[in-house]
Symmetry: C2
Subunit: 345 residues, 2 copies
């Protein structure tokens, strides 16, 4: 399977390789006749242009890197799907790298992408620490962080984030409208900015409704299902039991619901539950989970669009792009008891 190059075609067509190059790129500098002759010849010979050789001289690879913690996260998968799709529509390919949230792999991924000379990088759902950030900056290509908190600003770094504050605010407002007055919050991993923002939204909604903010109702979690399970007994053991609980994310909420069922609770009657994210599973659990849907596809598309804008005419066009915050949407299902309420009404 010896590859055929433009030189081979040149030989076969008895022209110079430059003419072949021109003909194949449909340049006007070549006669219509030889152009078609060469093009059909190329097809016959099974020619495929070598993207690397081209990139080498063009200075761009038409490739972007996508760094994820794990593609196994349905939330991330959806975003990556949108990225890949819009990248494809614009002639870009995607190199995928998983970091597993391990710092070593994070920087290994970035170095790999640097060697591959990607034109841009998108990072999903990590805490972007100082070293990580520094490596990203050193790439010298546009970087877009999606739902990834970074304390550091950078010349090449932009972000797309969901409005955590507003999302949580909506969730709590919904519960308050349903008549709840004691609403617990199960947090995500400590010190994550998105968790803190959601907490702030939670608090503001309470305050605006004239309800007291009780720190005891804030139960520390990790963002994983088991922390939801562990949160349940804590909530139940409170002197004044909450009647509803808002969770940092769906996975936590689902874990909590699982534990509740095992504890013999009847949801949402005994306890209303609301999550955040709208993962696919959310609509299949019982009762179906009320949640804040993040516009994942939109976020992925938007992020890739930003990279494309930054890349127009080849070189990074900084300053034509600014950070983006998108709002999530409240999806009312059964776990919050809204159905129940309207049925009773």
């Amino acid at each position: 399977m010896t590859r055929v190059s433009i030189k081979d075609i040149a030989k076969a067509a008895d022209v110079s390789h430059s003419t072949v190059s021109r003909a194949l790129s449909d340049s006007p500098l070549v006669s219509a006749e030889t152009k078609t002759r060469i093009q059909s010849l190329a097809r016959q010979m099974g020619y495929s242009p070598d993207a690397q050789a081209r990139s080498l001289v063009m200075g761009r690879t038409l490739t972007v890197g996508v760094v994820v913690t794990t593609i196994t996260d349905p939330f991330i998968a959806e975003i990556v799907q949108a990225i890949e799709s819009t990248a494809h529509d614009h002639g870009y390919s995607v190199i995928l790298a998983s970091s597993n949230a391990e710092p070593e792999r994070e920087i290994a991924a970035v170095e790999m992408l640097r060697s591959k000379r990607v034109d841009g990088v998108l990072v999903t759902s990590s805490r972007v620490g100082a070293i990580y950030h520094e490596h990203l900056e050193r790439l010298g290509v546009p970087v877009v962080l999606i739902n990834s908190h970074s304390e550091h600003a950078g010349r090449y770094t932009f972000s797309v984030n969901v409005d955590n504050h507003h999302g949580a605010y909506q969730a709590i407002q919904h519960l308050i409208q349903l008549g709840h007055e004691r609403i617990a919050y199960v947090t995500g991993a400590a010190d994550q900015s998105d968790d803190l923002e959601r907490q702030a939204g939670y608090r503001q909604a309470l305050t605006e409704a004239g309800l007291p903010y009780d720190p005891d109702l804030v139960i520390p979690g990790t963002g994983h299902a088991d922390s939801g399970e562990q949160a349940l007994p804590i909530a139940l053991a409170m002197p004044k039991r909450p009647t509803a609980v808002f969770c940092y994310n769906d996975v936590t909420a689902i874990g909590l619901m699982l534990a509740a069922r095992q504890a013999g609770l009847h949801l949402p009657h005994d306890l209303a539950v609301v999550g955040f994210d709208d993962v696919p599973t959310a609509s299949y659990v019982y009762p179906p989970l009320t949640t804040i849907a993040q516009p994942k596809r939109k976020m992925g598309r938007k992020a890739m669009d930003m990279v494309l804008v930054l890349l127009q005419n080849g070189a990074p066009h900084l300053g034509q792009v600014s950070n983006v915050v998108v709002r999530g949407k409240l999806i009312v299902r059964e776990s919050s008891g809204a159905q129940l309420l309207s049925a009773e009404a």
Copy 2:
């Protein structure tokens, strides 16, 4: 951000660029002293080797292409995760391409991968039709199909598949042991080989148990959730109602369970359900779904391993690898009623 090349280092170190090249690849043909001098210089200057330039001369890119229908499928995501992970461990990167099961995008993906000169390709969960297959073969690099049926054999094409027959067989055997005698099967999309194999396993298990095979119990589906929902009324309308139903996959089973709950059925008491795949959602639905778990990580790893073997010493080593079939594992949860049974016992 002008990139630093091997020549820049050469200039700074006052040696030739070949010496730099050697030093950086840790060649023994360079004095220990200059080697360390050059290496530290490279680090200082922020040198990053250009993978494309290297590939151009080396003839290999240390990159594989992964073609998926959609990364959004949790089943596929898990496989891709395993592929990426073992690829990374061996110094390979992954280019991801989604086909959406559209023939045009399939061949576009393959052509893209060809231009990028990937060293191998992995394809997940598609029907690989004639043209698709032909394009894959023309790549001239190893191709491994994962759970992808292809009618065509090829010089470069290998496969990793789950044992569909045995999986279905296990599922039915489980139901029979629980006392079921009328067991329905909701199929996948028509004419897919994996569905046919599962059907065959279903049938064999019945026959071996001395139960009659009733074609009426085979309900056509599509592999999507809605086909599960639509299958339920069909099952319920049968003159002799089935007491259990085995579904082509989990998604179908979950759709069916959803419909059953809405119909007021009490699962698994009124109807036992078993799926296939073990998607993450399976353990969170109510009742938790009994299913056949495909060893997704193992399959992804194995597939990538095969590519690596085929690539050892640079050129394709065909004939050192053969197709692989792995067995799934029965995961007993509550939807099949096993718990119930043991509780009653």
